[in-house]
Every structure is written in C-alpha cells, then in structure tokens.
Symmetry: C2
C-alpha cells in the first residue's frame, strides 16, 4: 500500500535556492486552483556545515545535519524526498539508507528531461559535484561529452559567484556566473548544465542570456516531482 503523496524537500543549501526550487515546483504543475498544487513540506534549515568546504577537506561534514533533516521529513510521513542542492548529493547513498521514503536523484531527473542530446555540455558545478562525476557519467552514457570549468575559472568566477548569492548579492553573483557560462560556451559547450542550485537564481536575477541555452537540474527535478504528483493527484493527503 503506498503512502499518500507528500513531497519532502531537504533545503537550506542555500535557503534562497530552496525557495527558487519551490517556485519551480509550482510552475511545473498545471493547476487552476490551490488544491491542485503539489503538497510539499520543506525543511529549510540552513544551519548545515558548508558542503564545498567539507569536500575540500577544510571543514566538518554536513552529514549529521543532512541526516537529521531526512529523519524529520520522514517523521511527517513524506512519500518522496528531493534534495534541493546538487553538491549535497555527495551524501546521497548515506541519506538514502536512512530514509523510508525514496529520494529522487537530481542527476537522474536531469537526464530524463533531456530531449535532444547535445554533443557537448558545459557543467557549472561545485568542485565536489565535478569530482563526484554523477553528471559526467550519465552524460557519457548517452554519448554527450562534458566540458568542465578550469581550476582558475572556479576560483575566479564560480566560487565567488555562489557565495555572492548566499549573501544576497544576486547582481554580483549573476555577473560572475555569466563569465563562467560564457567561458564554457566559448570552449564549445552547446548547452550549459546549471548543476548548482545557486546558479539559475543568479542568472535569472540579471536576465542572463545564458539561461536560454541552459539545462537546469533543479527544474528537471521539479518536473519529475510534478509528473509523479499528477499521476497521483486524486489521492488524499490526510
């Protein structure tokens, strides 16, 4: 017997990117009134050890706080969980083992959403996400090559761009991340994969033209959630 549909969102990484993900959930769901929208509960608690620093060996692991969030969502009887942060998928297997509810993987959702396979994509992501290789492996399996930011680009544009979003400076975040996007396009990427949830927030804030050529994993994940919900919309939540 399946549980009534209730989506749990593990957020807080960052909190603004989580709000952006919720917007995407609502936009992905055709609805003429409130009651048709996707029922969800959001753990938007940003008191989590910094993921990028942990993976660089410069800070404590966020795993205890991630596990706590997953446990709290499970206590509410969620039927599915998503993690509104690409980098946090580093701990996906550990979280999955502790969760009664299945956890959807953002890279699986991204690949599912791709219609025409590009020859080359540019991955805009944290060093931790790049090192993990989830996106590269999945793209390779469909014959798509992944171009990665250089170490220099990450230091100059990607990292300060992300932290600008985290302190609310979307303008600066947008400008820095646009430079990162342009560099990947100039090296031959047909599409850009915005594989860090801060990135689409920043590019949208400055109406960056690179948004139009982008594959947005957060949007793909929202779309997957909406599809699941639409197939079960007649269930009752309580």
């Amino acid at each position: 017997m399946s549980r009534p549909f209730l989506l749990g969102v593990l957020g807080g990484m960052g909190p603004l990117a989580t709000v952006d993900f919720m917007h995407k959930l609502l936009r992905a769901t055709p609805a003429t009134h409130d009651q048709q929208q996707i029922p969800h509960v959001v753990w938007n608690v940003p008191q989590i050890a910094d993921r990028q620093r942990a993976l660089a060996g410069e800070g404590p692991s966020p795993l205890p706080q991630l596990l706590y969030g997953i446990q709290q969502l499970n206590r509410l009887g969620v039927s599915h969980i998503v993690i509104a942060c690409n980098t946090a998928h580093h701990w996906y297997e550990a979280l999955k083992q502790e969760s009664d509810a299945p956890i959807l993987h953002i890279a699986d959702a991204t690949l599912e959403a791709i219609e025409d396979k590009p020859k080359k994509v540019g991955l805009i992501a944290t060093q931790g996400t790049l090192d993990a290789g989830w996106f590269q492996q999945r793209f390779a399996a469909i014959g798509t090559e992944s171009l990665l930011p250089t170490q220099d680009e990450i230091t100059r544009w990607f990292v300060p761009g992300c932290y600008a979003v985290k302190r609310g400076d979307l303008q600066q975040g947008g400008e820095l991340l646009t430079l990162q996007a342009r560099a990947l396009r100039e090296r031959g990427a047909e599409k850009l994969v915005l594989a860090c949830t801060e990135v689409p927030v920043a590019l949208a804030a400055i109406s960056s033209p690179y948004l139009n050529e982008a594959i947005d994993p957060a949007e793909a994940l929202a779309q997957q959630c909406a599809t699941l919900w639409l197939s079960r919309r007649n269930d009752r939540i309580n």
Copy 2:
C-alpha cells in the same frame, strides 16, 4: 528552558503566497552566509478546504486540515508558528489552543510595524477577514480609520483577482487588484493594507505603483520572525 529557534510556517493558502512569504523571511534577515538565515520548516500543503467559501457558508470548514498542519509542525519541535494567510486567522484561537508552540498573529505584527500612524487606511482583504474585524479593531485602537472595499468592488475586483493568482495568472490578478487599490485610494485611504497574502504577489508581478503606498502584513510578520531569530541566532538548531 526554551526550545532552539525553529520557525514553523503553516502555508498552502495559497502555495505561491507561501513561497512569497519565505522570500520575505530571507529578505528581512541580514545575512552574509547561509548559516545566518532563519531556520524554518514549511507545511505547504494546499489540499485545504477553501477559506473564503467556508466563511461564506458555501463549503466545508478548513479547520481539520489547519489543525493537522499545526500538529505536524509541532511534531518537528518548532519554537514558533506563523500562518502565511490572513483569512486563515479566522481559526487562530482554535489553532492556538492545540499548539505547543506559540502562534504569532499577523495583525499584531502589522500594527507593531507601523511607524507613522495614518489617519485612514484602506483594507484589501477577504470578506472573512473584513467580517472578523481584527485589523479594524487594532487600527481603531491607534486612532486610524479603516476604509473597506464595497460589496460591488469585492465581487468585481478582489475575489476574481485572488483566484487569478491561485491559478497562476499574476497579470490578471495584478490588474484587478490594482483597480481595487485605486478605488480605496480615491476614497481617501492614505495607505493600503494588503491583508491577503495573494495581493502583494499580484501587485509585485505587475510592478503596481500602489505597492509603494502599502502596508504588507506578510512583510510585517516576516520582520517579526526575523527580529525574534536575530535575538536568538546563537542558539543551535540540533
């Protein structure tokens, strides 16, 4: 001994207004990195009986679903609860009795946020909120007169404007609610009180000039939450 700070948001009424409220929470909190932002958990489950219809005697009461949401937030050990919907405050006393965590009242937060007392305010709100009189009573206590929409305006502009937002038509919602705002200004309101969480969403979507002369109860409530959080930011969440 007080609980660690964790804000519970009873949302879903509507789900987009709840996302807008979360934006306001983040904007109200000065933060240079994720970890300084307000920790919150959001019950954004819109499968709740329609509040306006219930209060008009045309549909079932939303109280069971509201109580369920309050119970679920309490199960997570929230320290405070807010309800991101003015009309749902009709059931405030019943919800308060069932909640371990204190529930902040949106009209109290609004009055606290007022700096210079206007002589006359225009209340843009559902019939249920207007009938309850929370805002009028509190404004009367500080010597401010409340101007209300007429029955005809509510039918022509307010109600269809709100339901346009709920079906995602922010443009139409913004236009209709701007007509409502203009009518109240023309009758002498110095400030407009946007006492329905759909209203600021719609006016912002069309960059309505009436936003600049408005008192936004959702923003006032977010500000109250941020002030509480700032006074306890050194506590740990888990």
